[in-house]
């Protein structure tokens, strides 16, 4: 999967934040809507799309969506 598609899927886990707020360099934890439930949705999305397991620690470790994407690819 390309980074661009990952950014789109990442954005889909948010209910109230518009799609144009998301880019590869977005600091996702700084978004207003970010919280524990959104984090869990991201964990589920990665499982569904990549069949890979990321953890809460992985999500905390990364800052931008691109960093998270690279971490997922490296697993």
């Amino acid at each position: 999967m390309e980074l661009k598609e990952f950014v789109t899927l990442f954005a889909e886990q948010f209910d109230d934040t518009p799609a144009d707020a998301f880019s590869a360099s977005t600091d996702y934890k700084a978004l207003d809507e970010w919280g524990s439930l959104v984090a869990l949705s991201v964990i589920s999305m990665v499982d569904e799309e990549f069949e890979k397991r990321i953890t809460g620690a992985d999500i905390k470790k990364c800052t931008t969506i691109e960093e998270l994407y690279n971490l997922v690819l490296s697993k």
Binding site: S36, L37, A39, L40, I43, S44, D47, R53, I54, T55, G56, A57, I59
Partner: protein, 355 residues
């Protein structure tokens, strides 16, 4: 993962007991009403039955009350009981084993084998696997599987993630040796201690003995404070692990034991929290009508969740017809179990007890 497959035993009856004292989540004073509603929406827990933890009600008391009622209802004579297994993290004492205390308090014969298993949320499936295997050879004829926890004791009052989630319950399942016409039990297990830090009560065991630091309230971020004598749970790690591995274990089990989901009557999910359970229900592709919940009333009661769900939600079905049940648990450890229980019916469920 490991698999067990047992016939030759029959579930005869089940009972549960909860404290009559209720804690309403909407009464929690430390966060705003809006935050409480968000929490209730995410976890599904509206209220929990919790004992006052002064020794007046222990898990063993809840299990004993349930057991006395069940034995009366199914007409079992105490002198015939030869196996008692008590599964809990909230034992009466560090030693002796609570099962042996119960042997004496209940007046069971001294010929009974009685022992504890220290497990949490996976407790019912591990206990069932152990007991059914012990009994399948006919060496034990009538056994009681007691599973419960009064783990609300371990929640810090300033840790909403635990305080508003954990409830107390004790359950008992009566199992008998049935060389013909028994139930069929298939269970797959995983044990993964790499997850040990994610659900843990750090101090008070031999590894970190109690010391002055154990009692200090520590700031854990997000307004949460707890001591090292309170239970700590990193929810997203449990979610990540459970939603990844339970479906994979189930798929392997389904293939090994030829399970057709259309033939399954009910999927019993450990009542960890509704968000996690709904994720699992959808991943395992079961419709809502096949997946009962009682988390709204009782919270997460650890090992008791599956048997308590059967007592509160499936009383008539368990009695009236054979059932093809699936159960899935992810528990502290991590200890994971997925089971298929094909009953032959006529399982008596006693009225829910309260003390």
């Amino acid at each position: 993962m490991s698999h067990i497959s047992v016939k030759n035993i029959k579930l005869c009856g089940m009972a549960g007991c909860v404290p009559s004292r209720v804690e309403e989540n909407r009464d929690y004073a430390l966060i705003s009403p809006e935050e409480i509603e968000k929490y209730i929406a995410a976890t599904g827990v509206v209220r929990r039955h919790c004992a006052i933890h002064d020794g007046s009600i222990c898990t063993s008391d809840l299990c004993q009350k349930a057991a006395e009622k069940l034995l009366e209802d199914i007409n079992w004579k105490k002198e015939e009981i030869d196996l008692l297994v008590f599964v809990s993290h909230t034992t009466d004492y560090k030693l002796p084993a609570t099962a042996i205390v119960l042997q004496d308090k209940m007046g069971l014969p001294t010929s009974c084998l009685a022992f504890d298993i220290t497990l949490g949320c996976s407790g019912f499936l591990v206990g069932l696997g152990v007991m059914s295997n012990l009994m399948a050879s006919g060496c034990f004829r009538k056994g009681l599987l007691m599973v419960g926890n009064t783990q609300s004791e371990y929640a810090s009052p300033e840790d909403r993630s635990m305080k508003l989630l954990l409830g107390d319950a004790g359950t008992v399942t009566a199992i008998e040796y049935a060389p013909e016409g028994g139930d069929e039990i298939n269970i797959s297990y995983m044990s993964d201690g790499s997850g040990r830090e994610f659900v843990i009560l750090p101090d008070g065991g031999s590894r970190n003995p109690v010391n002055e630091k154990s009692f200090i309230m520590e700031d854990c971020g997000n307004g949460i404070r707890r001591t090292r004598l309170h239970e700590k749970m990193i929810g997203d790690e449990v979610f990540s692990y459970g939603t990844f591995y339970i479906p994979r274990v189930y798929n392997e089990m389904a293939e090994k034991f030829n399970i057709n989901p259309d033939d399954v009557d009910f999927l019993l999910l450990h009542q960890a929290n509704k968000f996690l359970c709904e994720k699992l229900r959808k991943k395992l592709k079961f419709p809502p009508e096949k997946v009962p919940y009682n988390i709204q009333e009782f919270g997460n009661t650890s090992g008791a969740t599956i048997p308590l769900l059967m007592v509160t939600n499936l009383k008539d079905e368990l009695k009236n017809r054979p059932l093809n049940l699936l159960a899935a648990t992810i528990g502290v450890g991590f200890s994971l179990g997925v089971a298929q229980i094909k009953t032959t019916g006529n399982i008596h469920v006693s009225e829910l007890q309260m003390i």
